[in-house]
């Protein structure tokens, strides 16, 4: 069981690291968020097997639905940003004073 958890932990770690070191574009941000969601889903599947409880897999079912919806809206927003500033570089998004 531990090796599975290490696996999902490393996916989570790579996702978070990607969020921090990302200097390039927003699509990479969105993809790292998908990686984090994937690691959480894997956690659920692992623990579902550990407890012998199908509820964990049911949760994954719902998370996949929501993640699809979120990705759709996120990409629509991305297209809008691109239309207005013609670039998806993270550094170009600086009109609002952080």
């Amino acid at each position: 069981m531990l090796q599975y958890l290490v696996f999902s932990l490393s996916l989570f770690g790579i996702g978070i690291a990607g969020l921090f070191i990302n200097r390039k574009n927003i699509i990479l941000l969105l993809m790292c968020i998908e990686l984090i969601l994937l690691s959480a889903n894997t956690n659920f599947v692992i623990f579902a097997k550990y407890w012998g409880d199908i509820g964990g897999q049911a949760f994954v079912f719902f998370v996949m639905t929501v993640a699809a919806a979120e990705a759709a809206i996120g990409l629509a927003l991305l297209v809008l940003v691109f239309r207005s500033i013609k670039s998806i570089n993270v550094e170009d998004i600086n009109q609002l004073k952080g």
Binding site: V6, K24, A48, K49
Partner: protein
Amino acid sequence: MPDILFMIFASIAVLSALTVVLVKNPVYAVLSLIACFIATSLVWLGLDAEFLAWTLILVYVGAVLVLFLFIVMMLDIRFATMRARFSRWLPVGIAITAALVAMLLAFIAKDKFIPNADVAILAYGKDNVRNAELLGNHIFTNYLAQFEVAGVILLVAIIAAIGLIYRGPRNRRQQNVHKQISADPRDRVRLVSGE
């Protein structure tokens, strides 16, 4: 799942995930993410999550990640101009992440997760029922209301996405059938003597 298979699939998944974060070309990044998801789906197969493994490939990879790919290609990003400036944040980011992962690992290893032998096998359930049937029974008895809510979430995503992007017909000629049918020939054609 035999350990060797798990090691192979897990390594593919982790390596693709690393590629996603490190590579310059966004198309390669999306393709690596797809590879990562497919490898993870195979790992799930070994964890008795048969329906979910299939759904992951069908729905997530097949719809969501392909959508990513469409957007990446549509936006025509000049990856040659994106310099990978790893300068300040890289060491900090990696340090924080490594610390986080190490801490998580230490905590989890302490609460040893060794599955009991008599726990129901999810691939077959208690009465030799298949995984999909087990899952379906559970969702549609216990979580039916949440299922409806998930449907509403999808509806919201559709309304939002269309409302954001759709700008109406532009530079498009459209037929107004109503006007076409109600046209009166006497308005359109006038007979003039040719003398």
